[in-house]
Structures are given as C-alpha cells and as structure tokens.
Symmetry: C2
Subunit: 264 residues, 2 copies
C-alpha cells in the first residue's frame, strides 16, 4: 500500500452535523480536494495549513485524478463532497478512476459515511421516511430521461415515498413537472409534498405543500423534493404542518394497546 485517499461527505455543511470520524479524516489530511462550493463549507481550522485543490462544478474527473496523484505521492488526501459521500457523490468516481488507472492494490480508498441530504430534508419536514422510499435524481446529464421517468412511474405505482434529488436546474425546466405528472397519475393531488432548500444552511427554506399545489418555480438545484405515499399525511406542529408517513401503529396497535418491534 503506497497511499491513502479518504472520501468524506460533509453532510448538510454545518459543522454541527459533521461526525468526528469525518472531522478526524480532514484534520489528518495534508491535502483537501473538492468542488469550491463544498470547500467553502469547511471551517478555517480545517483548511489552515493544508493544500486545497478546488475547481468549479465541472472538473470532477480532473480533480479526482489530481487527488489520486497526490495520494500516490504519499500525501494524505481527502476528497470532499456534500451530503453522504456514497449517495450520488464522489466515492464512486474515486473508485472508478483508481481501478481504471490500475492502482487498486496501491491505494487504499476509505469512504467515511455522512448525513445524506435526504435525511437532512426529512428531519426538517417531520417524519416522511418511516416507510419504504425511492431516491431518484432528476438530472439527465449521465442518465437518459426516459429511464428516470420510468423509475419515477414505477416508484409511484408501487406506493413508495419519493425523494427527488437535483429536481431542477436552469437548463432542465421540464423535468420536474414531468416527474410530478407521472406521480399524479398514481396519487391524488392532495398527497403531501415537502420542499427543502439549503437544509441546515443559511437561507434554509422548508415548505410543506401538496402534489397539486407545488410550484415548480419555487424549486432549485439545491432543493430536495419529497413526495409522500398513499398513507402520508400532514400533522399539526407547533411551527406549522409536518409530513408523517405512519408505519401503522395507530391503526394496527392503537395508542395504548400492544406494541411492535422497531424497524431498525
């Protein structure tokens, strides 16, 4: 083994949601590599005294290759992404490039788990993910739109809660309405929908609405859209309505009746 590269998800970005294992990986690193928007989430203490390799949103392959070069030369290197490094993020590209360059036996690739955007959004919305859910990116940069739409329709048809990543960009204005229409073919317009922007970051917005009332114009690339299943309902909350997808306790067990084991 001639080097190590650690892939770290920064979670929503707030240091309060960065687990100690991720922080320790950053602090032991001599080089930190990542998209400049994510590097910007890091505290000065983490950045100080370290080589920082950062470029704009494009340049991922180049950036990961540079990280691999650094790690090979013996520099302890961390590649950062937001959310969890393993959900639509950098863990895959690092593994892919290490393999393609024939370095699998030379470089140790460690993935440190983090809090994915789907969990950050769910926590702010209430409890929408108490039952089975499907996670789908609406970005068609690397996936044909037909396949994305097929997955949306399949998930809606099998009554999954849906979590939509990358729901909208300036270039792709028609995808979100298309996905919502496919869902609306299977579910009533009253189905609860949550929209979370910039979870746990400055400018955070949490909107609880419905399938029929969601305004696609309110959605941006930094949003997560969560669409409830047939059992999802709104519950009152001290600071506004929240989404709840019940597991069936009230129905099956009653509120003071028998209990059921935990899911996990």
């Amino acid at each position: 083994m001639n080097g190590r590269i650690t892939v770290v998800g920064l979670g929503p970005g707030d240091a309060a949601l960065l687990p100690p294992l991720a922080r320790a990986a950053l602090l032991r690193a001599r080089a930190i590599v990542g998209y400049k928007g994510y590097i910007g989430l890091l505290e000065q203490e983490v950045l100080a005294g370290r080589q920082v390799l950062s470029t704009g949103m494009t340049g991922e392959v180049e950036r990961c290759n540079a990280a691999i070069d650094l790690a090979r030369s013996g520099v302890e290197t961390v590649v950062v992404s937001s959310g969890d490094a393993g959900v639509y993020a950098m863990a895959g590209l690092v593994l892919e490039l290490v393999e393609a360059r024939g370095l699998a036996q030379d470089l140790d690739v460690e993935v440190v788990p983090g809090i994915p955007a789907l969990c950050a959004a769910a926590a702010l919305l209430g409890a929408p993910l108490m039952h089975d859910f499907a996670v789908i990116s609406l970005s068609d940069l690397l996936t044909p739109w037909e396949l994305i739409l097929r997955r949306v329709a399949a998930a809606a048809g099998a009554d999954f809660v849906l979590v939509l990543y990358n729901p909208r960009s300036g270039r792709r204005r028609e995808h979100l309405p298309g996905a919502l229409a496919a869902i609306a073919a299977e579910r009533p317009e009253t189905t609860p929908v949550g929209l979370v922007k910039r979870a746990y970051r400055p400018g955070q917005e949490v909107i609880v609405t419905s399938l029929g009332a969601l305004d696609p114009e309110a959605v941006d690339m930094q949003s997560i859209v969560l669409v409830g299943n047939s059992a999802t309902r709104l519950v009152a909350g001290a600071s506004g309505p929240r989404m709840l997808t019940p597991r069936g306790y009230a129905g099956k067990y009653g509120l003071s009746g028998e209990d059921a084991p935990a899911g996990s």
Copy 2:
C-alpha cells in the same frame, strides 16, 4: 410551548459517527428514552446523571408515551434510535402520538438527522449508491408481505439499486429468499450483492457476493443487504472486492475527457 422532545438517531452507534448536534441534544437532556440495545451504545459520559427510560424491543408506544409525559412535565427529553431517527425509526411514532394526544401546540418535536444504516453499509461496501435506489424493509409486522413484494418487484423492474432493511428474523425465514427470487426474475445471478452486519460496531462483517451466491442463512436482523442494479460491478480493492454503481463517467466522459457536474 410547554416542553420539548428531541428525537436523535445515534447512527451506527460508534461515537465517532455521532454528529455534534446529536451529542449536544443528548447532553442538554435530563431524560433519555430508548430501546435498551440503543441506550447501550451510549457512552457513560452521556448517560451519567440522566434519567434513563429503557425497555426491550417491544414497548415502543409505551416508551414514547412516557417520553411525552416527561417532556410535558418540563423535563428536557431525548428519544434515541439507531441509524437516522427519520428512517424507519422513532421520529414518526413520536409525531403520531403527540398528534393523537392533542399536544401538537404544547410540545416542540425536533428531529436531529443522523447517519442511516444504508449509508454506513454503502461506505463499507464501496460505492453502490451512486445511482437511484429503493429502500425497502422486509419486516411484515406493520406492512402486508404482498405490498413489500410488490415494491421489491417494481424496484427490480425499474433497475433501482435495492437496499433491504430488516432482511431476516427467526420468525421470517422465507421473506428474504422470496425477495431475492423476485429480484432474480429481473436481474442476472451475477448481479453484485453486499451484506453488511453490525456496521462500525464490534463484530462488523462485510461480504461482497452475488445474487446467485448469497446465502440467506448468513443474513440476520442486524444486517443490511444491498443489491446492485444492471450497471453495478465489482472493482478490485486493496482489501477485497468492492461494489461500484458507476454514474457513467467512464462511458460518457472518458477518463481524461470532459467533466460533468456533481450530482449532489
């Protein structure tokens, strides 16, 4: 507002994966409520001087009601679960009971996000969740088996990566083979499958195998089973094979060619 109840996911259980926000919620609490298996994951420093309300795996409703009673009486109370509190865990039951008891305006319910078991397992397996995935619990305690199987089949048919929670218990020996058969109807036996037991805990096991070779007898209730999609493949790793679901970089962009924006 007459009280606060905070729902905290402990992640895999290792303190190194507990984010500071979750730790702060535990430290400000005067009472900690949870299944004894999860309470046992907490350090003495967190438990010391606090009222601890813990019962066995059954008793969830009773335990949450007791937590609500404590919070109403002005005791700062935390309900803990493993993983993320919002994924098949306690956030929903707390919200449900608070609503049913007409306390939504009196009690502030805060959900602190954590690292879900699906991300812990994925990190140990490599990078299986780089593309759309479906998360399904095979427990039929609160869900009809027919619906679970319909979701498994729909997810397999639409080429989702599958993440199976609660894959097997002593009582439910036939569910996992049934689910695997439904997936095998859509995918070749060579499809990579990952099995992770006790992620980031003593006794951790990480097995990379295939749909045809997975031994259901090796799976227990504390396991997560991850089934790849049609693009998932094994890549060599310094300490054994890893699962990779590529996003398409190598195919679409080449290794030294153009770049693509990040997913999220």
